[in-house]
């Protein structure tokens, strides 16, 4: 009989790991708490750096994991440690015995309403990076005027690099996402004036700097180095955004019709709850703690428990996929070692 491997989370990390484990001859079982596979990427529209449709990436991954057992709308109820395996009770009443658990539980987006000074949920023209991706997909959002915004802005580092929000980490993908989304908005609304308010631009990945240069040169997007301090509404119902332009050392004020908050990547509280069932440690950044952050990122400190993807920290899609493959191989090697 093929060996069961329980994968928690059916995002891109869980799907890719399942596909690899199938090829290696195992029986992966994916437990996904939501009603769809693909996790966050299933909500995105086009992916940096090549503007690949997210839908294509997700459907390819779902096809690859087609032979796996998949339970949607299902979570982990409790876990019993047996002598050399785990007995796992799923919320749908099914129990699974496995020697291997793979956490692919991903992240959650920082709740932008917690930064009250930015007015998310208070003013009608404030949305998040996730709302904007959804609008690219559905074309449906009252916050975006049909004729397009005259002036709009992107606020970097919302709930990231912020001790007041209890998240001092950089979320890594939001700088490039802001620049990508700014370009996409300019393509849709060529007359719009678009600002990005940043503290540092972290363009670390393949072709990211090209995006930045193109945003400046081809799209005329204006970059202001200063963290937005507050957002208010004027009597005409337009947004007034304030910051310091730290490069000129002067306060700046811009009136806008739309503001997009680049909400950060934080650890999924559900992950921590599930991790608590098997007493997994949490690292100082709030994400699951690997055995070693250099050499063993996909291995937990516990026997038979592995990680893949953003449950251990912010990652891009290619990084997540590479990690899922590496986790599958680590699992294979571990099982070989048991024999």
């Amino acid at each position: 009989m093929k060996e069961n491997i329980l994968i928690i989370g059916g995002g891109i990390a869980g799907l890719e790991a399942a596909a690899q484990l199938l090829k290696l001859g195992y029986n992966p079982i994916i437990v996904e708490k939501s009603d769809h596979l693909g996790g966050h990427v299933a909500e995105w529209n086009r992916l940096f750096p090549d503007m690949t449709p997210a839908e294509d990436v997700v459907s390819r991954l779902i096809a690859g994991a087609g032979e796996a057992n998949i339970f949607l709308n299902t979570g982990i109820s409790f876990v019993n440690r047996l002598k050399d395996s785990y007995n796992i009770m799923l919320s749908n009443g099914i129990s699974v015995i496995t020697r291997i658990l793979l956490f692919a539980t991903g992240f959650t987006l920082f709740d932008a309403a917690k930064k009250e000074e930015y007015g998310y949920g208070v003013y009608n023209q404030v949305m998040t990076n996730m709302d904007l991706e959804r609008w690219f997909n559905t074309g449906n959002d009252e916050r975006i005027p049909e004729e397009g915004p005259k002036t709009m802005g992107f606020v970097h580092c919302v709930g990231s690099r912020d001790e007041k929000a209890r998240n001092p980490q950089c979320s890594k993908v939001c700088c490039i996402t802001a620049v990508k989304q700014a370009i996409e908005m300019k393509q849709k609304f060529p007359d719009a004036m678009i600002y990005c308010f940043y503290m540092d631009l972290r363009m670390f990945g393949k072709k990211y700097e090209d995006f930045y240069i193109s945003a400046q040169r081809d799209y005329g997007i204006r970059f202001i180095r200063g963290r937005v301090s507050e957002v208010s509404e004027n009597i005409e119902g337009r947004l007034v955004v304030k910051a310091e332009d730290t490069l000129s050392g002067k306060p700046v004020k811009v009136t806008m019709d739309l503001l997009v908050l680049m909400a950060g990547i934080v650890c999924n509280p559900d992950t921590c709850r599930t991790a608590g069932l098997v007493s997994l440690p949490v690292d100082s950044d709030g994400f699951l703690k690997s055995r070693d952050n250099i050499a063993d990122i996909t291995e937990s400190p516990k026997e038979g428990i592995f990680y893949a993807g953003t449950c251990t920290g912010p990652k891009t899609v290619p990084e997540t996929l590479a990690e899922a493959r590496s986790a599958a191989l680590a699992i294979h090697n571990y099982i070989q070692g048991l024999k």
């Binding site: 310091e244 730290t246 050392g249 306060p251």
Partner: protein, 109 residues
């Protein structure tokens, strides 16, 4: 000296080889958080005195780090100690307390 009709103005470059950072070093002991500033400008943007007097904790810190003591001390008199800067600082620096410590240290000097 020969008169060329113009004179060389003093260099505005900051020479870090000669910058006197002794007071800044002392301040670091009293306020270790000062090193955490990432120059985001939230404090200046929130400061009610900024628009009128140019008061800015961000500039204050960078002036001290560059040994520009005079500029820094001059700015201090514009602060009303209202604490708004402390409320917004994303690095969690107690800027209001910092301003008070600077006043104490630099007055002694």
């Amino acid at each position: 000296m020969m008169d060329f009709g113009f004179k060389i103005s003093p260099s505005s470059a900051i020479n870090l080889d000669n910058a006197d950072l002794s007071l800044y070093d002392e301040l670091c002991k009293a306020e270790p958080d000062i090193c955490k500033c990432m120059a985001c400008g939230s404090c200046s943007a929130a400061c009610p005195a900024n628009r009128f007097s140019g008061m800015s904790v961000r500039k204050l810190i960078i002036d001290l780090q560059r040994g520009k003591k005079k500029e820094a001390v001059k700015m201090l008199s514009d602060c009303m100690l209202c604490g708004k800067c402390t409320m917004v600082c994303p690095r969690g620096i107690n800027t209001r307390h910092l301003i008070l410590s600077i006043c104490k240290l630099y007055k002694e000097d």
